[in-house]
Symmetry: C2
Subunit: 190 residues, 2 copies
Amino acid sequence: MATERTSDKIIKITQELIQTRGYSAISFDDIAVRVGIKKPSIVHHFANKGELAAAVVDNYRSMFLGLLAQSANSESAARNLEVYFQPYLQFGESGNLICLCGALAGEFSALPESVQLQVSGFFQEQHNWICQQISLGINNNEFATGLDANATATWVLSCLQGALLVRRAGGITTCVEDAVLTIKNYLRIS
Amino acid sequence: MATERTSDKIIKITQELIQTRGYSAISFDDIAVRVGIKKPSIVHHFANKGELAAAVVDNYRSMFLGLLAQSANSESAARNLEVYFQPYLQFGESGNLICLCGALAGEFSALPESVQLQVSGFFQEQHNWICQQISLGINNNEFATGLDANATATWVLSCLQGALLVRRAGGITTCVEDAVLTIKNYLRIS
DNA sequence: GTCTATAACTCGATAGAC
DNA sequence: GTCTATCGAGTTATAGAC
């Protein structure tokens, strides 16, 4: 395996730091120490903090969509949603990780505009993807009848994001599993 | 009406700032300018930034519980939950406010311990209150049978918190209303 | 591509006058 | 209780050597 590129290491470490501590609370030094370089080397790869954060979110979005394109492309909406739940369940198991964009959403007004746009884009594309799956499940007769695909999709996204928040800050360990079970119950997935 | 005390003004302004920008991104100067005083005057009322934030959350918890004790003490769980939804719906309508503790949860690991304890306490007492209402509604035959009160309560809290996040950061304006409607559907409140 | 050194700034917090 | 003045630490970002 080729040695990981420095810029990729920076992105990976920064993502983890934002997921635990947020954007405003982390510094170039926090990142540099963990990557094993010095502060100015980060600026060589990313012009400033905002550009770095925007690149981190952009990478996260690609990863997320890539996973879905690869593993959630079956004709069963229920099976596709099962894949979708996995990252949330994994973050939940970690105990102190929340969704990257959920963390950034908490301090939204304090973010540089380029980061705000990336975060908004994440939520919108997630919403679109879920919406497509709900529609598929309704047409397939996999899900309960009479569902509003759009409203159901916003709700699914909301309760997964919120579950990670409440799990970590409230110490309520079953949050994500409870959210997933409730979603399945509501959609009538056995 | 008596003139508002400076310490109360500081708490009120700080709450709004955290709800929009988070904890790490705001400074004593941001607060002082809005209150109409200078930085050092804040330290006269609150020894340091952590103590101020802890006081803000403490005040928020009292306000929230006070509202519930006053307006949500009927024998109908459905009616009590209706009161509970109001602050979330109001934050949602504002467009850029989220729950104070939802904002703080996003940067949880970066908070001073005294603030973390307050935030954890908020989520736990909210969870307890909702849990009591769900149990009441089950015993009253107001809600669907077979509900797990504890898991349902975590889910209700999660999806309201998440709805505020997704609403603001994703620009999806119907989020909170969708969450409330879905909760009612799930519990079988007409 | 990484480093040392440092500029320019902002932060939380303190000292002490009024 | 509020102020001016300031400290010391930490911040992003830059300059320039290697």
